[in-house]
Amino acid sequence: MFPLTEENKHVAQLLLSTGTCPRCIFRFCGVDFHAPYKLPYKELLNELQKFLEIEKDELVLEVPNPPPKKIRLQELEDGIDGIDNLSQNGEGRVSVIEDGSIASKSSNLNVCNVCLGILQEFCEKEFIKKVCQKVEASGFEFTNLVFSVSFPPQLSVREHAAWLLVKQEMGKQSLSLGRNDIVQLKEAYKWITHPLFSEELGVPIDGKSLFEVSVVFAHPETVEDCHFLRAICPDCFKPAKNKQSVFTRMAVMKALTKIKEEDFRKQFPCPPNSPKAVCTVLEIECAHGAVFVAGRYNKYSRNLPQTPWIIDGERKLESSVEELISDHLLAVFKAESFNFSSSGREDVDVRTLGNGRPFAIELVNPHRVHFTSQEIKELQQKINNSSNKIQVRDLQLVTREAIGHMKEGEEEKTKSYSALIWTNKVIQKKDIEFLNDIKDLKIDQKTPLRVLHRRPLAVRTRIIHSMETRYVDEHHFHLYLKTQAGTYIKEFVHGDFGRTKPNIGSLMNVTADILELDVEVNHFIVEVPICTLNSAKVVLWWGGH
């Protein structure tokens, strides 16, 4: 059923005669249901013609500048046929020619003066198919998608001009269609294209989808249409460092709300003039939102940094915890890059024992995202088989929110350590027994010299909750400690030039040094059902005490 009624006739007539396409005419007549927009272009043109009772062989189009042209309706129809033949030419009209100018392959095609072709060929099946081909070729795995489209800013200017024209015409008829009754270009575009995407790709459109298909349109021919706005509202167009052009969509729209009608009409033609060519497609891109993998790691090497150790472009130590885990994930998820984070960290020469340190890896723009728990188990096994320096457990997919919890409560945690101590003086078993009885010892630590280059100079008070000793020989013993989080254990042992007081050396009245250090990370395991991508009850990998 044709959506326009008698009272729309004048506006429709005016718009059509000034070079506006049927779908834009619907928008400016407030047609707010989807069905009419989805009809084929040819059919819409025919129906419109019938509605306006125009003779089939002639349609007068009056354009203020240049002088009036007569374009045959037949030619308009031929122009539409031209679109169907485009596929023979490969990219056809939508290709960007090197010098930036777009030549219309068919001079009969009347490019809409408001939407510049967006609601003409760019919302039809042919074009959508082209986009979908690119999506499929990109190799992403997805079960739904969100479609985002970006139009050139000058469309807002043309829209504004068309609105002023329509408002004036309605004023003559004392009609009252408000600005808000006009259907937005983007909205109509999505009404038409969403079902086409779904049909072509076989997945639903979902605003919350992590997989985004984005299309950016440009219209080089009319780029300067917006420039007059700068003279009138200069503070809308302040240059920002990371923007190529100062004429962004937001800036243009803001200026349009500020400009007075008379000033606008002086600078910009109402109705807008007809362009020579349609929009160009600047880019068709696909990207998948980040996914998160978490787990715990144990470190058994005394020569492995957590993150790559590179100074002046030179790698000082081979490999890192981060790389040993993430390289496998990067490959399997086919991601662009990763971000590694963990709940605390240990020095290069310290082993991580116990249940392991919780870590999380953000995989950026992954092409593959669906894994069964069996596949994740196999991935964990693969990582563990590839290196004896680290071992991973509880590997699982988690949500972004879970990562936030990982860092929580780090300050409150207690840490357990195991150290091998050397003393310069000869010691007997009885010389170390007193350490077992010391509870909640307060120590003051100045920022250790070994980290002073990158930390502020300060004094930190920390608590050694308890210690346990195990005699080895006259110059060695094992020391087990439970301390407050943030305690520098090495400095507590050797004193750091007396800048950590008291220290093992001062307590025992010897010169002491630390030969080996292990940290025991034992966050308790909590079972919580997580609505992860696997929708399975999963062992939570973090927890504090």
Partner: protein, 195 residues
């Protein structure tokens, strides 16, 4: 295990360097590579560390307007630090026999901290000169961190210099014994830099 290993552990990766200057007692610097934090300490051959010497007091007031105790650094970038050149004095050591020794930085950089423990307990300076009795901590400019060891002596070079000095002292005393029975107070020995 020996002393070198101890320094390795507590410094991370440190090497000991020595400074020699004219009319300047010997000082020792421990430099933590690759970050080049320098800890200024007295070398074993410093007069103040010889037996028989008693330290009366240590002062960080090096001039009327400048006290190293006023040095305050803040933030990760250690703003507010006093800038030191090689000859910048760090502290003065006063001995009970009236002798006075000035310890200079020998390293260009920003002063991080001075050791207030030796103010309260000067004996630490003599008991543990290379650890708890340190003088100061200096952070060289990152760009200069590789060049600060130029002009300093390695441990081996230092030991060679010491040996030469002992021979020279023995020769002098043999010569002087024949001439006079009075012994003039010896001026401070030329400082040796060992890096």
């Amino acid at each position: 295990l020996n002393k070198c290993q101890f320094i390795y552990s507590c410094a991370g990766r440190s090497t000991v360097w020595y400074e020699e200057e004219l009319y300047q007692p010997i000082t020792q610097h421990q430099i933590f590579a690759p970050y080049r934090i320098c800890v200024i300490t007295l070398a074993e051959s410093h007069p103040v560390l010889q037996s028989g010497k008693t330290i009366k007091s240590v002062s960080y007031q090096i001039s009327t307007n400048c006290s190293r105790l006023q040095n305050k650094v803040s933030g990760k970038f250690k703003r507010g630090a006093q800038f030191l050149t090689e000859l910048a004095p760090l502290c003065k050591i006063y001995c009970s026999d009236g002798e006075e020794y000035t310890v200079s930085s020998c390293v260009r950089g920003r002063l991080m901290e001075v050791n207030e423990n030796i103010l309260h307990e000067p004996s630490i300076l003599q008991e543990k000169p290379s650890t708890e009795g340190y003088i100061a901590v200096v952070l060289p400019k990152f760009e200069e961190s590789k060049s600060i060891t130029e002009g300093l002596l390695t441990q081996q070079q230092y030991e060679e210099v010491l040996v030469k000095r002992i021979h020279a002292a023995t020769a002098t005393s043999r010569a002087s014994r024949g001439i006079t029975t009075t012994t003039a107070p010896t001026p401070p020995q030329p400082a040796r830099s060992v890096c």
